[in-house]
Amino acid sequence: MSRHLSRRELLLAAGAGLASLVVVRPARATPEAMREAIRKVVGAARVTPGRVKLELPPLVENGNVVPLAVSVESPMTEVDHVRGLHVFTERNPRPEVLSVRLGPRAGRARVATRVRLANTQSVVAIAELSDGSWWSDSADVVVTLAACLEEA
């Protein structure tokens, strides 16, 4: 090599390298990505904390199988019922987890399933009511064995 790199060039190169590193990192939902995903479902409506109950264990040993339930106290009548339930995560590769449509025929506004959690993170549940209002609940979960990371 005929010339030495100046300190500035070196710093620029390092900066560029770092930037590309950030870009190349595997896809991972962030709190912003979660907010965006929620925005996509909710639209311009306001989401108020309350009325929804998100049940999740506070401490999870195995992130591959985490029991989760979402419920809303609702009479589930033709005029007053829950239309939809949605679950999002902050730090999974994708923020969406589950989207449920229901109506008066459900009788009770509750769904239970088992999810994967890739990290210690917040999980958010959102409910859409028949009057057009949106409600939310969130839970913090500590995950000791993360899902999604093991090799095939």
Binding site: V65, R94, R101, G103, L149, A152
Partner: protein, 106 residues
């Protein structure tokens, strides 16, 4: 072929809220995992779950890769009349399974 298990009470009173539990064997491959040679394991996901009660849709869910392998879904419905609950799962690679359960409402 995928095995599905459906739990619905065999009998119910008219108007009673019954719980439906559905379990199906499926890998729910996320598409985020890599093999040892660095190649990505392609996604294979059940995307949709629908329950109809005598032909009327009573529950529907969109599933994402964050749903654990062998998806389990529990929900409720009102026992309106005797008949059949049909549960239908669809997903990647043409995955489509229907399982039904009979209920007697008195």
């Amino acid at each position: 072929m995928a095995r599905a298990l459906v739990s619905v009470p065999a009998r119910a009173r008219r108007g009673e809220i019954i719980e439906v539990k559905a379990l199906i064997s499926h890998v729910m491959e996320t598409g985020h995992r890599r093999r040892q040679d660095g190649s990505v394991v392609p996604p294979d996901i059940i995307r949709r779950f629908v329950c109809t009660y005598n032909g009327t849709e009573v529950f529907r869910a969109e599933l994402y890769p964050a749903i654990a392998a062998n998806p389990f879904i529990a929900f409720s419905t009102v026992a309106t009349e005797s008949g059949t609950l049909a549960l239908h799962w669809t997903g990647d690679n043409g995955f489509s399974v229907t399982e039904s359960a009979a209920i007697v409402v008195e």
